[in-house]
Structure formats: C-alpha cells, structure tokens
Amino acid sequence: MMMQANDRQSEAVAGVVDRVVAHYRGDPSCMVQILREIQEARGWIEPAAIDRLQTVLAVPRTKIEGVAGFYSFFHTRPVGRYRLLFSDNITDRMQGSAALLERLCSALWIEPGKVSEDGLVSVDRTSCTGLCDQGPGLLVNLRAIGRLTVERIDRIVELVRDEVPLADWPAEFFVIEDNIRRADILLATPFAPGDALRAAQARVPSDGLAAANLRSWREGLPTGLGGPAAMLDEIKRANLRGRGGAGFMTGLKWEACRNAPLKAGQQRFVVCNADEGEPGTFKDRVLLTTRADLVFEGMTVAAYAIGAQRGFLYLRGEYRYLLDDLNAVLERRRRDGLLGSDIGGIPGADFEIEIHVGAGAYVCGEESALIESLEGKRGTPRNRPPFPVTNGYLDQPTVVNNVETFAAAALIALKGGDWYAAIGTRHSAGTKLLSVAGNCSRPGIYEYPFGVSIRQVLADCGATDPQAVQVSGPSGVCLGDAEFDRCIGFEDIPTAGAFTVFDRSRDMFEVARNYVHFFQHESCGFCTPCRVGTSLLKNLMDKLHQGCGSPYDFGEIEKLNQLLQTMSHCGLGHTACNPVLDTIARFRPAYERRMRQQEFAPAFDLDRALAAARQMTGRDDAGAHFLDQEA
C-alpha cells in the first residue's frame, strides 16, 4: 500500500517536472521559471522534483539546490497549503501589522516561520510587498491582500480553517487600488496601443523604414536606417535619464548597446526592470496595472532603436498576481501586430517579449544580478566591467531600464524629444512618479514634473506634522524638516520613487532599525563586507533597541559604514548604512534615549541569557531573573 502511494507520488512529481521542463524547451537557463512553476503545481520543491530535474535538464544537483536556496519564495521544505506572508516594511508596521500577525498566529495556533502540524498553513514575514498606500499587506500564496484589519484577519482565520479554496475567498480582499492622486504626462497622455510606434515611423522619410535588426553592427548609418537612428536621437534630445534611481542617460545606454559588437549567432536584448524591491516604492506596480501598453511599447521602441529581437519583463515575485493580465496584454499586442515579426509593416522589425517572474530577492533589481536571475542562476551581482550593454544576457548586448523609463520613452516616441525636454528642470527632464505613503491622509501615486519641492508633496498628500521624509527608500536619504524646501531631481534629491512620510510621533531609530533588518535579510551573501557587515550592523541596532547602547556603538556604526561603502561589491552594500547615518545625524535624541552608559555597554545581558532556561522550566517569577541594578 505504502509503496503504491509512493509510486503514485513520484509519478505525479515526474509528470509535473516533465511538463514544465518541456514548456521551457529543456533549457536550464530557464531554471528560475521552471522551479517557480514546479512549486506552483506542487506547493514546494521536493527532493523527488530535484531528482527528476537533475535527469531531464542534465544539470548537477548542486546547481538546482544553489538556485532554489537563494530565493525567499522557493521552498525546499514543506510549507503550508496556505502560505501567508506579512509585508514587513516600516509602513506596514506603522499600520499595525505586528499585532495583526500575532492575532492571526494565535488564532491559528502557530508560530511565525513554522508550518502548522497538519501542513495546512504557514505564516511568515516578507520584505515590502509594494502595498504601502493600502497596508498593512500580506500575500497568500503570492496573491496580495491589502488594508488588513482585525475583521479581515479574523475572516482569513476562518477561511483557512475551513480550507476554502483561494478562488472562493471574498473578491474584495484581492482588490488592489491604483490610488492615482496626481497625474501628469505619463499617467494622463491619451494613448492607444501602437500610437508611439506609428509616430516614431512617421517622423522619418519613408525610405528610412528599415529595422535596426537588419544591419551589421558596423554598418554605416544615415540612409537605410533613418527610423532607428532618428528614434535614438529623439531619446537623446529628450535628455531622458533612467528612473530606477541612478539616473544614467538612457540615450547613451541605448547607443552603447546598439554599437556593441555582436559575435556570430548573438543578438541584442531589451530588459524591463520591474523588480521594484525598494521598500516604500510601488509606482511600477501602478504603471503595469494602468499603463502596461505604454511600458511594452517603450520596450518595443527601444528594440527598434537598438536592433533587439527579444525582450524580457522581469516582474518581481511579489507581483506574481499581475502575471495573467500582463500576458493578456502581450497576447493582444501580438494579435494587433505590435509584437512579432515585421512590426508596423517594417521588414525585419521583429520583437518578442517574455515575462520572467522573480522569487523574492531584492538584490535581483541590481541589473547584473537581474541578468543572472534571467539566466536561471543565483541572483549575485556580476563583476563589472564589462557592463550589460556589451556583455549582458547570455553574454550579449543588453539594455536594462526601469519600467518608468520605458513608459517615458514611449511618450518621447509619440511626442518628440524637444517636447519632453521642455518639461521638468534643466538637468532632470520630464516627470517623476512618487510612491507616497506613511503619515499622510492621501497616500498613493503622485506624478510631478521634476523640480517639485518636498514641501509641496507633503502639502498635497495631506501630511500632518511631518518630522521626516525617507526619499528613495532605505538606500536613499532621510530628510528632516530643515530640508523640506529641497527639490526632487537629479541636481538635488534623486529618487527611484519612494516617498515615505513620518510624523512627529514616530521613533526614527525604529525606522532605521527596520531598514537595517531589511538590508541584512536581502544581502546576497556574495561579498564579505556586506554579508557580515549588514549582520553586524543589525546586531548593533538590536543591541541599542534593547537599551544596551553607548557612544562606543556610534563609532562602530561609522566604521561599518565606511567599510560597507568602500568595500562592498554592489549598491546594496554601499547604501546599507545610509538610514542609520542619516537618522543619527538628524534625529540623534532617538539614539541617545537608548544609551545606558557614557562609555561602553556590553551586548551580553545576563538576564536575557536566562530566557531559554525560564522557558524550559516554566518559571517567570522574580527569583528566575537577574535584577538590573541600574534600572
């Protein structure tokens, strides 16, 4: 009997693995997607599935286990049939997520991070899920639920207990709002699919309608290539800078990729970075929900300009629930001749877009880690140079841009570079989407021309008594009220889009501590300074939190900062100390409250060390404690 059950199970596993692998043409570079789909079918990545994968993909087990072990959303141990992940951003916490998590766990009789004994449910925390304007949020089997309340939590407990299939959960739970509060060109320009491509083509004489695909890389320009070259010129004339944070000139990036030599059999790629992992950012989610056509069209414009035939949208795992809708948009565009071959009737203008879904790893937003992940590997940032524009996906020239950058590129194709450059400021052309959340009455998406002041945004979003604004998430800057007249823009405060408001009731030390935990959790672990340094920083902040701080610890934090900033391999490590340094500089009393000694206080606490013994003996009386003399 037992034997038969086992056979049946391994047959089922093999069936799933074979189907998924066949769908991905047996290509090991699709490993992340393959593992994701196996897990979606089976609930977890069981050893039998790894066995089978090893055989059918003909790759070593170490490779599969290495990838499966890297991503937060992959499970190589059984998890609950209902997997509840509470978003653990500081805004979720401010909205009461901790108490809700506790309520849910005690009602279901489980501990966070563990699976219930009957395998029904597991509950855990996860990094920011991008629902800050409608938090607290959670993901149940990667479907998002926002605006959690006590009532919603109690209802979820019932649904789980009664084993109601997710499809039958109240539909309103899964309604995610766009909350667009201020729309400018990106969100409000009338646009029908194909408009931008047609406008781009109309801008060149008809003899220029050849695709950039149809040329060798050294081929001289003007005549046959009017279209692509003109498109590139428009992007340059627009002064468009990348919206993913760093602000690199998009025109230069595209040109470098376009001019990168191709070896035999190689091609160029366009990648849209929709990993949006920076805590507090959710503008790409709204763009993908409301303006998917604009984004895909921007990618197609890029492909036309640089001569790429394939593109990827890298969608963060937290946005898995958008996948079906986005695929439907792609399918429609294919039907309408806006994807596929000879797009817009131009011979050789061939372009296809696939969606790659991530699996819970913030570092995969870093463009070279993203490419590794696209190639089915662990998301570890690469050594640079070489850069992706010459040696990207599968070592071939690749353009990686943010979602918002592509949306802007489509508008530039539609309306021209001069039109675009006239909006915003001298060094920051165009508009910027801000994901506004925290202590304000109207959280949501605000689109402003560059140059808007912090104060203006605060007034518009209904911030009352603001103490601080975290711009661009934890890797950005924390500003106090003396700086509210500063402006959003590359000449002053650049941002990927997060705008998180903290009023005077907030403890800025706890804000920084939450961010430090985030970085520690998301460090990829590749390089020593970041892997160990973020852990040491987290321990230091926890030590202060427990009231064991001393000025000595400030010195230690500054030393760690110096080390992380200079020695780390990628931007994650470089910026990991920012929130601590910014808040020490501006909100020092929040730290000083936690100082116990003037010189030095040890992290070791005798009384706390006895906690395990107290738990084991079931004692918690006065005699089971060391009394703190100073307290």
């Binding site: 170490t62 490779k63 990829c524 852990s535 030393k559 391999h569």
Partner: protein, 241 residues
C-alpha cells in the same frame, strides 16, 4: 609589455587583459587575497584584495590593469579595512586556531598575522555548522568555510565534477555538496581531485594525516604569507608554462 601603471609609486608593467593583482604578483608585490588563486578565474567576493585605483576602492583580482592607473595598495587605510574584513570572516565562522589541523598552513590565519590582527574585535556569531565525516578519506569541517568558492571552481573547472556549490543567501549562504543526502560520501569526490587540495582554510582536510608536519614547521610558520604567496604564484606560472 610597454604599458605600465603605478602601484604605491612603483611602475608596474602589464600585458593586455592582465588584472592588477596578476601584474603586481609578477612584479613581486604582494596584495592580500583569499578568494583569488592564480590558477582560477577570479571571483571577487572576499574583497581582501581591494586597492584604491585613482582614488576609488576596487577589487584588484577582477579589475584589468590599464595604462596610467594610479593604484594604492600597502597603505594604513587599506590595511585597516582589510583587517576589519579578516575579523569579519573570523567571527562569522568558528575558527579555533589552536585546535585546527590547518594551523600554520591556513591563509586566513596567515592573513590575520600579515595584517596585524590582534583580536576578533566583533562578537562571534557561533553558527551551527555540523561537520561531514562521511567520506572515507576526506573530512569537511564547515565551521571554517569562508565561502571563497575555490573548491567550487576547482571541482567544476578542473575536475569536471561539480561536487561543491554555494546555496542559501546572505548570512545563511553555505557550502553544499552534490548529493541528495547532502553527504560527501555520496558524491564522486576523491582525494585526488583538485578540489581536495585547494581550500585556503581548514574545511577540506585529508583524514589520517593529522600533524604530519608538526606545528612550527608549517609553511606560514617558516615564512610570512607575503613571501609564500609570491613563491607559489611563481611556481604555478612555471608549471603552467
């Protein structure tokens, strides 16, 4: 070899494609390193080899030399930073040197000496990393793994076996072996593999060889790491040639 860059004021010649550490080593200048090995493709993860190039920190094992670069290496600032990285590696794992078979032949220990590390400085993490003694000839003591990935590269690129890999993420990154059981005995690893002899610390150890060379007479007991490393690089190059 007409091109040169300067390293702490010295003029260092290099050939096209050579990294800074390669050119420096050939010129007889030691740059501390742990994950770099002259026979393998550079990895760039330990960051011990960080130098300042035109004022900016960068790993010297991965950056290609370019004419006219101004490189700082043996400065108090860089050595202090390297010392802190070494301390981080010590507290991240469990390194009890006096009881370690690799003592005196361990690159981490020797690097600590080279950099004048006097204490671990940070609180120890004391991770729980059980040893794997399943293999008849080789012991794996994960407590000392610094995740340099040299065994991974040796097994993949030289032995063609993929016995080792890294799994997990962040501080939970760990070395795994190619077996469903997770045990070395169930892999095709043998003591003749290149990967069996590459570990710079005391993780991959041959069994029944304990103290064949007495402590006090081991390589780094006799000559400092800076000399040994350069000599090894020379002999590796000669073998390769």
């Amino acid at each position: 070899m007409s091109q040169t860059f300067t390293l702490d004021g010295l003029s260092i010649p290099f050939t096209e494609g050579e990294t800074i550490i390669q050119a420096a080593t050939r010129a007889g200048v030691f740059i501390p390193h742990l994950c770099y090995h002259p026979e393998f493709k550079p990895h760039g993860s330990c960051k011990l080899c960080t130098v300042k190039v035109n004022g900016r920190h960068t790993a010297s094992c991965t950056l290609r030399a370019a004419a006219g670069m101004v490189v700082e290496n043996n400065t108090e600032e860089l050595n202090a930073e390297r010392r802190a990285l070494t301390q981080m590696l010590f507290v991240e794992g469990n390194h009890f040197c006096p009881s370690c078979e690799k003592s005196g032949h361990c690159q981490l220990q020797a690097t600590a000496y080279h950099l004048g590390m006097m204490s671990p400085h940070y609180d120890h993490f004391f991770p729980d990393r059980p040893v794997d003694a399943s293999h008849p000839e080789v012991l794996l003591d994960f407590n000392r793994c610094i995740l340099c990935s040299l065994c991974v590269r040796a097994s993949r690129d030289v032995d063609g076996k993929n016995v080792f890999a890294l799994s997990g993420r962040g501080i939970r990154t760990q070395l795994i072996v190619n077996a469903k059981s997770g045990r070395l005995a169930d892999t095709d690893f043998t003591v003749d593999d290149k990967a069996a002899h590459i570990c710079p610390v005391g993780v991959i150890l041959k069994k029944r060889r304990g103290f064949a060379v007495p402590i006090g007479e081991r390589p780094y007991d006799r000559a400092p790491l800076s000399e040994t490393a350069l000599a090894e690089a020379v002999s590796a190059r000669e073998e390769g040639a």
